[in-house]
Symmetry: C2
Subunit: 198 residues, 2 copies
Amino acid sequence: MELWFDLASNYSYLTLMRIEPLAERAGVSVRWEPFLLGPVFEAFGWNSSPFVLQKEKGAYVWKDMERQAAKYGLPWRKPARFPQNTVHAVRVALSGRDEPWVRPFCRAMARANFAEDRDISSAEAVRKALASLGLPVEEILARAQAAEEKPRLRAQVQRAQALGIFGAPTFFVDGEMYWGNDRLEDALDAACAGASRP
Amino acid sequence: MELWFDLASNYSYLTLMRIEPLAERAGVSVRWEPFLLGPVFEAFGWNSSPFVLQKEKGAYVWKDMERQAAKYGLPWRKPARFPQNTVHAVRVALSGRDEPWVRPFCRAMARANFAEDRDISSAEAVRKALASLGLPVEEILARAQAAEEKPRLRAQVQRAQALGIFGAPTFFVDGEMYWGNDRLEDALDAACAGASRP
């Protein structure tokens, strides 16, 4: 199963905090696919999140987030800045995608964004998050800032667009799309059923 | 608890088919509030459903509907016409809102739309649905076509807008909004908790 997410996305936060124990219990392995939602929205002609552009839905979403976080027992604070620019953070996540530190790093960034109302957009914020996890900061940043990483992130966004992704989180199981934190359980069920097929 | 819905809305179909046994089990009484989503979308500057206007989301929604209907054990057929004009049907539903025939009528119309792929927009289609339920067709239609019913439906749409409704189905519990079939269980849980408060 694939999980496509952006650290700027509030519903991605819920999924990032929930997915690991649920996937483990289900015996499903998940490939994390960090990407940027901003350029996807831009291609739709939107210059921000639909939660900003459509004020009725926006007003609702923050109430919904508060209740959903409470339902899942997750910390939550309405962010003062939304959506944040996550290009630094997502480039770091993508550059080390298959390494064990990436998942705790993503959770830490998403938590900073949606539970601690902190700025996660600056290179400095990313550096601090890496340091607070006891990670080799300079080594990780050097790799994320290497020349090939900018086109790599651009290609990742293009892959998201080619897959028809229009929001986050988005899951894929056997090529079928499941959109939104509300579909996490359905996607895991489908991945289980697929895995147990003869 | 209140349920706001449009017979043109595919996610309303899932809720209309599910809500009665769930509400009964939860001991929650639900007031049905039929309205038209079209004028709400028009006020946002949209000339159709977002599932038509945003083609990436639209492509996804029909896959999602197929899977959600299967999950709930509900019949489903992708409608050839979407969204249908439901002004006749919704006027009938609103004119008899508190009468016992309205709920089976709404389910029959939603099923015709989303499980049988039938035209539900004409006055004739509404007439046939009433007749097939063994209802006093002329009496019901005479009331729905009375002079006061047009402004009544207009006022109902304005109430929806004043409440901040931006989609359907939408639930209200103690003034709090819950949006979408995915929140039906949460809304019922909240209504239960509210009812048992001292």
